[in-house]
Amino acid sequence: MSEALLGTVLIAALFLLFALGVEIALALGIVGVVGLLYLKGWTIGLGVVGSIAWTNATSFSFVAVPLFVFMSGILLHSGIGRGLYTAVARWVAFLPGGLAVASIFSCAIFAAVSGSSVATAATIGMIAIPEMERRGYHRPLICGSLAAGGTLGILIPPSIPMIIYGVMTETSIGHLYMAGIVPGIVLALLFAGFVVGYAMMWPERAPRVAEDQNSLLDKVRSLYEVAPVALLIIVVLGSMYLGIVTPTEAAALGSFVSLLLAAVARKLTWGTLREAFHSTVRTTSMVMLIIIFASVFSHVIALIGAPTALLRTVVGLDMPRWAFFTVVFAFLLVIAYALEELSVMIIMLPILFPLITGLGFDPIWFGIIMVVWLEIGFITPPVGLNLFVIQGLTPGATARDMMLGTTPYVVLMIILVALLFVVPDLVLWLPRQMIGR
């Protein structure tokens, strides 16, 4: 069998198994093992499986994944979200749609301690949704601001997808974190700008909060409610950029301080802890099994030489950069419709990354693009995780409310991608300052 044919057969088999409903991790493993057996035989071929499993499962960088999930689980019920949202709401309540703006900014600030989109949406949503419902906010506005705001959790550092991207492509996680900051702030401002515009167009959908209950003194006083979050930001990001700790160690320190904060707030019960344990273990087992078997699969694809062949073909096409990038991005948007996005990233990276960097795109820049793409996936049906979370937290919200609410943010995210393509320095300037030193 020729190599091109073998590659095509394996990829077709993979998608067939996906379509038949086999677990993604197992499907990757099955096709990978069949490929290895065909290419290298029983002894040599299978030996690779064990060593790939070992290398990935004991990677110290990947230790940060369960740590950030665990930290989110502890913070969810710690009351830290309430303090943050209350304080931010006091400062931005004067704006049209103030409470929805507060949702977005609270998500953006919480994103600086959270590595996950779902956890950010859930932590802030739990507090913000009842508040906005009580004030009679339009439901799509509530759902959209939180589902989209939550996705800032993975763009603003720390970020679980950036950890996975960094390890898989051997890109510095610290630089990826840095690179996410400016796009994260830009996106938060775009979101907030949209909410303000929306509330000015339809003032009845975002009733104003009475202005007089918010004196400057109240505002300043409310700052102390943000203290726990500020402390966590210093612990998680500060320690890392002072060069004291690695990204994984920062995650452990963050978890430790979260436990202390929850204990001080008397919110650290056995129930909370057990729930955090199980959700951490579920996410870790699921994601890491996919990573392990995706690595087996991509090992086979690399043995065949598929990425190089693909690169040669694409270079031969002689397409302009923007056209090529548009095709790749559109392809990703389509494929994300059927599969859970993080899995798509893990499966596609070994093929996509050599292609993209081979064509001269920057690895850090592409990492940020992948993250924004993940954000889009998190708020688009049918498998957008944030949609499920926010719909679950909003009593009576329909799928239509969610669709109506999130669509404008999808457009804003696509605008951001275009912006980052035209001005890559939005991504690359900040990490360059760090590399320079």
Partner: protein, 168 residues
């Protein structure tokens, strides 16, 4: 019975996460405050990570948390969906058997040649054995799911059996 074993393994894995948090915090504190880096921590944390992944596999399966695509199968008639699930489980189990065999071989080899870790010289066979052990536990819960699926196919309204434990 198997339900409580899978759940206990997951709880234990959760405790391992807590242990990682404490160990790394201790290491950072000792290194930063007293300039005494604790060299064992990185290796122990990595082994604990491996434990978290593989001890959690079975419970993760029982809660239906291993991601699958149901876009197409969701539109099939119940009987076809049930048979597809059955075939998927059989295929998965065959694959799992192969991986268990090869990873167990690696652990045995590591034991026989006395392979040790790079920094602390810990024997590697023990953490390596966790991989096939966790996969065996996953295999057992998959066999249980296979049995349930077979029984469901013999009933008057056959369909795919949902995961036994969701959430929590």
């Amino acid at each position: 019975m198997i339900s409580s074993v899978a759940r206990a393994a997951s709880t234990l894995a959760g405790v391992a996460v807590l242990a990682i948090v404490v160990l790394i915090t201790y290491d950072v504190a000792m290194r930063y405050l007293f300039e005494q880096p604790q060299l064992f921590v990185d290796e122990v944390a990595s082994f604990l990570e491996l434990f978290v992944i593989f001890a959690g596999l079975a419970y993760t399966f029982r809660t239906g948390s291993h991601v699958r695509v149901d876009l197409l199968t969701g539109r099939l008639p119940g009987r076809a969906r049930g048979w597809l699930r059955l075939s998927g489980l059989v295929l998965g189990l065959v694959f799992l058997a192969i991986v268990i065999w090869t990873t167990a071989q690696s652990a045995v080899t590591a034991y026989r040649y006395g392979r040790v870790s790079a920094v602390m010289l810990y024997p590697l066979w023990a953490p390596m054995a966790l991989i096939p052990l966790g996969l065996v536990l996953l295999g057992v819960v998959m066999v249980v799911a296979l049995g349930a699926q077979l029984r469901a196919l013999r009933t008057s309204r056959p369909d795919e059996v949902p995961p036994p434990e969701s959430g929590g």
